[in-house]
């Protein structure tokens, strides 16, 4: 089985309101999947489920051949991590934030590697700086690097560059691309699930696209097909820049 995730009838309900209802979705090992859709489509909920941060209210989520109903074991959880829209840095130094996830695992970052990361982030001069003093772009770069140093099997990105300027957007995309390439060529590489509402970004970063609307998976296709010949009128409207919104939620 080459899929790392396999979702069947996956549902999530908050206070009786169904926000996600996906009949079937497979995410391939090492692929970059863009999850597209307007606000409220259930994209962030999907990521929280993929990161085992919430329990689904129904259906099955299979990760690497295992479906767990209750609590995911720690070693499984630690193979997946998310970078959120807001950097959510801790009130510590830049370096302490960078190495936080590693220290949770009882690991350290070698000084040379740490310096290489700071250089790559363009933050070498701010290593000892308190993280809350960083600019939005700097902070998000640290948040991304904090996830990448863990070399997760799956990197989930929840609109990580939605609030950033073009320079920082470019930097974030480049860091992710480099992380995928740097992986051991023998291995299948890091799986990326990139939630975005920016179709141009999805085009730049994704191999495949999943288009969500009102909690439903409306269309799923490889990127080239999706952007040139979308199969559904909703996806076509979304690509035209029309905000698709169906008043009637899932029944």
């Amino acid at each position: 089985m080459s899929s790392i995730y396999y979702l069947t009838d996956l549902q999530q309900t908050y206070n009786g309101r169904r926000v996600l209802d996906i009949d079937r979705l497979e995410i391939g090992r090492g692929e970059a999947l863009a999850v597209l859709g307007p606000s409220g489509a259930g994209k962030s909920t999907l990521l929280r489920l993929l990161n085992f941060l919430e329990r689904p209210s129904g259906g099955t989520l299979t990760f690497d051949g295992r479906a767990v109903a209750d609590e995911w074991p720690l070693e499984q959880r630690r193979r997946v991590t998310t970078v959120f829209q807001r950097p959510a840095l801790l009130h510590r130094s830049v370096v302490a934030n960078l190495t936080y996830g590693l220290r949770l695992r009882g690991k350290k970052l070698a000084a040379a590697e740490r310096d290489a990361w700071l250089d790559r982030l363009g933050l070498a001069h701010l290593a000892g700086q308190s993280a809350p003093r960083l600019s939005a772009g700097e902070a998000q770069r640290v948040a991304l690097a904090r996830a990448l140093v863990l070399q997760p099997d799956v990197l989930l990105l929840d609109e990580p560059s939605a609030n950033l300027d073009p320079y920082n957007i470019g930097l974030i995309e480049r860091l992710v691309a480099e992380a995928r390439r740097r992986d051991d060529p023998a291995a299948t590489g890091m799986t990326i699930v990139w939630v975005t509402h920016d179709i141009f970004q999805a085009r730049r970063v994704a191999d495949r696209v999943a288009f969500l609307l009102n909690g439903r998976l409306v269309e799923e296709a490889d990127a080239a097909t999706f952007f040139t010949a979308p199969a559904t009128p909703q996806a076509e409207a979304f690509l035209r820049g029309e905000l698709v919104y169906e008043e009637k939620m899932l029944q």
Binding site: R48, R78, T81, R105, L156
Partner: protein, 229 residues
């Protein structure tokens, strides 16, 4: 005005003269308040953390108002309660703690505890929920999450301890009732001030007041330095 100057002069004389009676009173004040603060912190921080880290507090509709009411407990009521508990006929009378520093520590611990629990849980609950999600996403265990959140809330937690300290070093009602203001045994700064004021020794009372403020300032200065990153 004259009394004020006399008070200052008296305070200076007492401090520079290392007056043994004064040293004893100051020593007991620090022992009682320090002991109570330590106990309340040891109990209150884990309790506040356990409540503050939950997404939903069990019976939260009742628990929080109770804790917040506890933050404003009148010391004299706590004193009365502890008095009844420890008096000869009380359920804990057999301990023979009444009119001892131990009883005073018990009373002040009860006053300090809701302050520490309430302010700690508030500090934890005011952390951005994304941070909690992020920390879990980075692979924290439950214990690691709790510890990280306590560190994130450290200024608020320190403020909780400071507030509790300020609340108990300055209270007089509880220590008066359960300690009895016995010279050489249970007399602390606040009860000594009451006594000297009643005796008409205003300068001495004022001097003790100045020393009390000085102690409170010194402790708060220390806390402030601790929180100054």
């Amino acid at each position: 005005m004259e009394t004020l100057i006399d008070g200052l002069r008296e305070a200076l004389r007492l401090i520079t003269g290392f007056d043994p009676a004064l040293l004893e009173v100051v020593g007991l004040t620090l022992r009682v308040t320090g002991g109570a603060l330590l106990l309340a912190t040891l109990i209150g921080l884990p309790l506040g953390a356990a409540l503050g880290l939950r997404n939903r507090i069990p019976a939260g509709g009742c628990v929080l108002p109770i804790i917040y009411t506890g933050m404003g407990l009148p010391p004299v009521v706590v004193g009365l309660f502890v008095y009844l508990l420890l008096s000869n006929r009380g359920p804990l009378g057999g301990l023979e703690w009444l009119f001892t520093p131990t009883a005073m520590i018990v009373a002040q611990t009860i006053i300090a505890l809701p302050l520490i629990v309430g302010l700690t849980l508030t500090a934890l609950r005011s952390i951005d929920p994304t941070v909690k999600l992020q920390v879990r996403s980075l692979g924290a265990t439950r214990a690691q999450l709790a510890w990280t959140m306590m560190l994130e809330a450290r200024l608020g937690v320190l403020a909780a301890v400071i507030a509790a300290f300020g609340g108990i070093i300055s209270e007089v009602g509880a220590v008066m009732l359960v300690g009895g203001n016995i010279e050489g045994q249970t007399r602390v700064l606040t009860t000594a001030i009451v006594l000297e004021t009643r005796r008409g020794n205003f300068a001495l009372a004022l001097a003790l007041g100045i020393i009390l403020l000085g102690l409170a300032f010194a402790a708060n200065y220390l806390f402030h330095r601790l929180s100054d990153e």
